[in-house]
Amino acid sequence: MVRDLDHALKHVSLRAPAPRFERPRPPRGVFTSQQGFMRALGVGAVLLVAVLPFMDASRYTMSIATSALIYVMLCMGLNVVVGYAGLLDLGYIAFFAVGAYISGIFTTVLGWPMWAALIATIVACVTAGIIIGAPTLRLRSDYLAIVTLGFGEIIRITANNLKITGGPSGIHGIPTWSFGPWSFDDGFNLFGIDFPERVVFYYFVAAVVIVVGVIGAGRLAKGRLGRAWKAVRDDEDAAEAMGINTYIAKISAYIIGAVWAGMAGQLMATHLSAISPNSFQFLYSALILMAVVLGGMGSTPGVIIGALFVSLAPELLRDFAEWRYLIFGVLLVVVMLFRPSGLWPATAVLPWLRRTRPTPPAFTEATAVPASVMESVDGTPTTDAHEGDRA
């Protein structure tokens, strides 16, 4: 096993001496570990999403739920950029627009099938991410914010002015997904429950994509790449000093954010079957940012809650709709001043698992570096400590 593990690391010249003692294996239960609890929570959320259509498959509910899910997808993507990599993207909706327009144009004007349009969407988003990220990610992070803001406007104005994008009225009649002779419009009967509307199918498609998107983003965040993002966010110079190419790390976060938004854009285009430049104003970039910030940057549960709040609140509270932008603006300031890590901070620990910090260890000789160990290594190269003699 250990040899196996060694192979997992690239060949490095200097290896850590083996630990002198094994740390106790951390608990893995649902209530005894953070990870277990979050996993259970995730399974619960997925179940909830899965059973919703069986409780209320009305057109209205499904449509709103689909939009909310698409918001979740968007927010998860922006969370990679803002929450993990610490890059402020104020034109995030532009990638959503790229996704929506590419799939719209490819399916209506060029008549491609939806799956091919999906691939085109992803390619387009990666390209857009590189074009906009490559020059600006070398600069100070605040320049990025304003350049992305400009980029968002460029995309919107371009969509408004070009013929192929349908100008101000946008694109209509985007076809639905179809598999052979059967398409989403044909409806379906499952376990005696009739799903007559394509909205229900879109709900399911969206649900699957979004669950994959959420889990995927979470996994990326935990791995090598995700650690690099967070390191860049916390301290770019230190990250660079630790051998992380911060430019590559930032670009990769940016591209992944773009792809997530592009997929959300395609879902939206097919869900609504019509798109217009008005849905891609700066306002929406700001709303998504608010969702991420309110929920908690870098925190998956926080961002999901934030996304649901921002997308559902105006639907559920009609009086609120009028005032929401003002309220969101004030909230943003208040949150940043008093609770910058959001409603559900990324660093939150479940209350019953919270470790009370033991009193700082007294710096006796023993806790510092045990003398017994010192004797054996002091000054003399140990044999098992490093491979090969460099001297």
Partner: protein
Amino acid sequence: MMQLIWNGLIVGSFYALVALGYSMVYGIIKLLNFAHGDIYMLGAFVGFFTLSAFGISNETSIPLLLVVLLLSMVTTGLIGVGIERIAYRPLRRSPRLAVLITAIGVSFTLEYGVRQIFGPNPEAFPIRLESSGFDVLGMRVTASQIVLVVIAAVLMLVLAHIVERTRQGRAMRAIALDPTGAQLMGVNVDRVIAMVFFIGSALAGAAGVMAGAYYGSIDFLMGFIIGLKAFTAAVIGGIGNLYGAMLGGVLLGMLESFGSAWFGGEWRDVFAFGFLILFLTLKPTGLLGARVVERM
């Protein structure tokens, strides 16, 4: 040709006035104040509100414009100071991202606060400068345009005097170079920063009133695009550099004026932002900015 230059100069002087505030604030506390464009919008609305309160409409008097201008400048200046005090000062030691996000929040609050008060539709600005003009050097020039350019030029000269010749100006430059050092030398950093916000916001407010009088209609989102443009101008000139902001503003105004003539007006903004990206890629320090090594 000359007409394009003249038009560019007019728009450019608006950009320059707003860009100055952007650039000053950035120079001194390294904050991109996203709400700055909205201060411009507030300036226009303060003018609109006072004039409406006195029942004035369709006025063409230039002295009245100057009075309103001063009033708006003081009001927006104070609002700027208030914003700094409430929203930015507590975050001065926080990560940059937090402050930027706060600035977006402030911008939203201002925009939609005004929307709740004055409604979403554009309002007609009560002072409308007459548009009778004359021809010079093959370009059509109106008296009001000359007034605007002169006001802008005077404001910029006053600012240059303050920064270059006064004690406060010296303190500003000191803080921009080295905040801790300046503090150790006995500069009251908080006061100077407040003053920068006052001056920057007052200039933006002035530009707002002038734009109201020039274009005739104002709305709650009018600050958004100009904020972006002013930033572009500040970057072109070299952010943090006052003369750079002026130069950048005028240059951007001209570029746009030529760009619209060549590519069509609907591409004007695309042209300007494209230019921003190009500039940031090729010469991020701008025309007059100095290359600085960031302290680690």
